[in-house]
Symmetry: C2
Subunit: 200 residues, 2 copies
Amino acid sequence: MTHPKRRGRRPAGEDTKAALLSAARAVFTEQGFDGATVRTIASRAEVDPAMVNHWFGGKQGLFAAAIQLPVDPEQIRMTVHNSPPEEIAERVLRTFISVWDDSSGGGFAALMRSAATQESAAKLLREFIATTFGTRLRELGVDHPDLRVTLFGSQLSGLGLVRYVLRQEPLASADVDTLVATIGRTLQRYLTGDLGLGGE
Amino acid sequence: MTHPKRRGRRPAGEDTKAALLSAARAVFTEQGFDGATVRTIASRAEVDPAMVNHWFGGKQGLFAAAIQLPVDPEQIRMTVHNSPPEEIAERVLRTFISVWDDSSGGGFAALMRSAATQESAAKLLREFIATTFGTRLRELGVDHPDLRVTLFGSQLSGLGLVRYVLRQEPLASADVDTLVATIGRTLQRYLTGDLGLGGE
DNA sequence: GGATAAATTCACTACTTGTTGAAAAGGAGT
DNA sequence: ACTCCTTTTCAACAAGTAGTGAATTTATCC
């Protein structure tokens, strides 16, 4: 054993880029952006920290690559825009659940933990939701459109929090139909139902 | 001008301890425990970083002093236990709102941001909610008590998220009665209402 | 097989963090 | 006025951070 670790190009097949990505998803999910260190990620990927710079240009680039949202904003916008009013909630909820359930590495948790510190992602998300749903609701002519959007957002983000971040049972493993029956009904009321406010 | 800053004991009245506490609440709330740095807090308090050690024994001590929860768990437990079933949601919601609205420095945001990384606080909170509400619901003999508790938690934490962390209008400034009318109704349905699940 | 390019390691820089200890400054008590 | 003692500042440390660049090893192409 002359060297602690073999230098130079490794035999093909050991895809360090993929290993880094996988480790990054795990660590970012657990620790958030600031909490995660390049060294920790590299060590979990059994790879040199410098590889992060080599492959992704730095910590920020690795983060961007690791947390690529499995969401196509345009698709959601279309869903909201083209659904009949009374089905918007169910369709969006089903999309929400299938997207984040599939995102194997707990992408939502990562998003939450990073949004708390990064703030920029949260702002984008916020504005996206506000405009997408806001315009549609105004189009439909319901009362208190802005309040409805934030109510909708509160229940949806709360679901994400409990299901994906806290992983609290039985909600964490509840099947889609159960969620649609319970939370979907709430969401639909927030969008187009009777809010229960006296005036008007 | 012989010295950049005057050394030594300051004239009485400039309570640096209080200044530090106030700055600490603000910065911890905005950045969370890890994100906040002693230097930032000290600088906002216009005070030397070393004062944190002098007065609070370190960053951890300052945190403990700054974040004292304005919640009395026993009080909530009593509310849940002694309320007639159909009023639990409204009472808990009103308590929740008044407690966290009063907590001037955004205590909920600090709790969330720290809970995301610290995890121990989250676990405690989770178990507290699960047992308190779980036992009461089982006592009442409703179906799916555990699911109901998590649904309840999802809407309540979502409200906290949007109102206190993201501060999204108009929900962030909505008055108590509006919240009771909209979200309270949801919460009550989750606790004792019809969940909409086929079976039973 | 020899040249080239890619992949990896390592030593290093520059910076930030929390914390420490000594020195300085001024009030308080006698 | 003289001594304490508290408060404050400053400089520095040890540990940890991300990122850089040269050196080195290996695959791949001609």
